[in-house]
């Protein structure tokens, strides 16, 4: 298994998994291990000693300071810990070392099972142009594009050739600098009349900005959706897909709401895209869990974007509608077992939505909000799943991703799932840091969202000037703050502890719960 892609029937039972991650995903992996009767080893940084993942594992080893580069990214330390604790497998989660080919290779060389695809596959798919070439060869559609012929010495392009290339790619086209980025040397071209001049302009701009004036054209996909397919493969040559997830709701190119099925994917399109996703998996003899990301155009045209060689953040929605446990399957496959499902065994039921709850301020450029979670009430009820690595009393620190939890809802249909999401979010009380809970509710309440009219620019189009209503002073909020304060002061003066009665005490106790509530850790 660890040596690569050869088909093998050897079973290597895993007895102890080291989880090389933190937060909710580490907790998620530890839970599946426990269900399987597999031992767990957590690694943590110095500030994470009392984090949930560190407390849930059978064994926890502190591997370094808070900075990820000194702890969660230290391959050598993590491998040492695996050896010292007799872990025979490592689950990388997502992020950190999950798509690091060198780490996967180092695990294989140390005789430790890396729960994921082979180092070679991680490497191939990590190199975007190489991945595109492999997919094109396998018949997976990629965004049509072509390099343009060289301009002459005066920077003039051969018009006939340029027009022929663009005709083949199909309008509208985007002219892009081959060696640039950041919007420089880019031109959107709608019609053949503008194209030659646009190429010359883009080339000049690219030469000025990047020292190389080579440009290429790519088909411009208007208002695309981000639709990805969960794929899974084993070491016996089986590859399946577990349907799609639509992840078009993104801020700063990061997903915040994901759902399945996609409101834009018909059964015919699903069959077509699923086939392409499995072809992509087969092209590299994919083993383990992975995701094939596509851009989906308004007319049902779709294009390979990239392959993520890991478990995805948004995997819970797939689990909810398919009734699977993807981490359990990852472990089984890593042991050398065949996939637990054939393609025809897999089906979906109902609709699932995931909302990523972040400690960030959507009204202020999504700026992370750090500090202690003073109070947290997680919603519950049928069809409500929470993946969280943070508890009341924990700190959202500057060192790590400020995601507090993933709230995933399962409903009979899309409307039911949306209703369930809004209702659950309205009960998701988090105080102490600013969160995006109110913003998530506002997105779910947008009529365009309800109608399923999603695209990757959705938030820019529909919520550009969203403002929180939190500073609007509701009478009720004021009233209950007054009631709680009355309770707090009455309790304080009666207890003899002096809390709240002396200015010195109140000045030096900035974090305090009301009334009976006490700081976590003191109870």
């Amino acid at each position: 298994m660890s040596s690569g892609n050869e088909t093998s029937t050897e079973i290597r039972p895993i007895s102890r998994v080291l989880v090389a991650n933190r937060g909710e995903i580490a907790v998620r992996v530890i839970r599946s291990c426990r269900e399987l009767g597999i031992g767990t080893v957590a690694v943590c940084s110095e500030v994470d000693r009392h984090a949930l993942h560190a407390e849930l594992a059978d064994v926890t080893v502190t591997i370094g300071p808070a900075e990820p580069g000194e702890s969660y990214l230290r391959m050598d330390r993590i491998l040492d810990v695996a050896r010292e604790t007799d872990a025979d497998a490592i689950h990388p989660g997502y992020g950190f070392l999950a798509e690091n080919a060198a780490f996967a290779r180092a695990c294989a060389e140390a005789g430790i099972i890396f729960i994921g695809p082979s180092a070679d596959v991680i490497e191939q798919m990590g190199e975007k142009t190489a991945a595109r070439a492999i997919m094109e060869k396998a018949g997976v559609p990629v965004v049509p594009g072509a390099l343009l012929p060289e301009p002459d010495a005066d920077g003039k392009y051969p018009a006939d050739e340029v027009l022929a290339v663009c005709e083949k790619v199909g309008y509208p086209v985007m002219v892009k600098a081959a060696f640039g980025g950041g919007g420089k040397g880019m031109r959107l071209v709608e019609t053949p009349e503008e194209v030659v001049r646009a190429c010359e302009g883009a080339s000049r701009e690219a030469k000025g900005a990047f020292g190389n004036g080579t440009v290429y054209v790519e088909k411009f996909i208007e208002t695309p959706r981000h639709v990805e397919f969960q794929i899974f493969g084993d070491s016996h040559g089986n590859q399946v897909h577990l349907f799609e997830r639509e992840c078009s709701i993104q801020r700063r190119h990061q997903k915040i709401i994901e759902e399945t099925p996609s409101p834009a994917v018909t059964p015919e399109l699903r069959a077509k895209m699923g086939k392409a996703a499995v072809a992509a998996a087969r092209a590299v003899d994919y083993q383990g869990a992975g995701t094939v990301e596509f851009l989906l155009g308004p007319k049902g045209d779709f294009y390979f974007l990239e392959m993520n060689t890991r478990l995805q953040v948004e995997h819970p929605v797939t689990e909810l509608v398919t009734g699977t446990d993807l981490v359990r399957a990852q472990i089984r496959v890593a042991e050398g077992h065949p996939l637990p499902w054939a393609q025809e065994d897999l089906s979906t039921r109902g609709h699932a939505i995931e909302c990523r709850v972040y400690a960030e301020d959507p009204a202020n450029g999504f700026m992370p909000s750090l500090g202690e979670i003073l109070l947290m009430n997680e919603p519950g009820g049928p069809g409500v799943r929470i993946d969280s690595g943070i508890r009341q009393g924990d700190e959202v620190s500057m060192y790590y991703d400020p995601m507090i939890a993933k709230l995933s809802l399962h409903g009979e249909d899309r409307d039911a799932a949306i209703d369930r999401a809004i209702t659950a979010l309205k009960d998701y009380a988090i105080l102490g840091v600013v969160t995006n809970v109110e913003y998530l509710i506002a997105i779910l309440q947008e009529s365009a969202f309800a109608e399923g009219r999603l695209h990757t620019g959705f938030l820019d189009e529909h919520m550009p000037d969203w403002e929180s209503g939190r500073s609007v002073d509701g009478d009720l909020a004021l009233a209950i703050a007054a009631v709680a304060e009355h309770e707090r002061r009455s309790a304080g003066s009666g207890s003899g502890a002096g809390a709240g009665s002396s200015p010195a005490v109140s000045a030096s106790t900035p974090w305090r719960y009301l009334g009976r509530f006490r700081l976590a850790g003191l109870d």
Binding site: N377, K426, A481
Partner: protein, 169 residues
């Protein structure tokens, strides 16, 4: 009990009287009767004439945070015994770090004139840069940090002495 809340620069006086589960409140003299029960887990169940609602409350220094229906309301409840404290008075319209981070660049020097909205410091936190701007027109009287320095939450960064108020048309 009389409580003086500050909300968006407005002072709101709330008078609180309790009779069992019944609370008689007067918000700026307006009577607001309600029934409130504290539940396990930090929430309050409130019966008003508009129906039953569940709210969560926490205190963070002088701030009172109230969560209701997906929204967080932030109220200030300045401690009357601390209001005249010298330390509080000395806090001028300078800039402090809202969260721990790293100073990427200090854009002003001691003695510089700044205008309201002018970027004064670039701070990086969680790999994101934020420009902190002066809140008033004035003069920089102290710069407490330098480029590359790590700062903690609440650390003073730059002091700004506001211009004396003038009648300017």
């Amino acid at each position: 009990m009389l409580l003086n809340f500050r909300c968006l620069d407005e002072m709101i006086t709330v008078e609180v009287n309790r009779e069992g589960e019944d609370w008689n409140l007067a918000i700026e003299g307006r009577d607001v009767p309600l029934q409130a029960f504290r539940e396990q887990g930090g929430s309050w169940l409130v019966d008003t004439h508009q129906g039953r609602r569940r709210l969560w409350v926490a205190a963070k220094g002088d701030q009172r945070l109230v969560f209701c229906d997906g929204k967080v309301h932030m109220l200030d409840l300045p401690d009357p015994e601390l209001v005249d404290d010298d330390e509080l008075d000395s806090v001028g319209p300078g800039l402090s770090a809202a969260m721990p981070g790293k100073v990427v660049k200090v854009l002003v020097q001691n003695g510089d004139r700044v205008t309201s909205g002018q970027a004064v410091i670039i701070l990086e936190s969680m790999k994101m840069e934020t420009e902190l701007a002066a809140a008033v027109d004035g003069t920089v009287t102290a710069v407490h940090v330098q480029d590359g320095q790590l700062v903690g939450q609440g650390d003073a960064l730059v002091d700004i002495e506001p211009d004396p108020e003038e009648e300017s048309e």
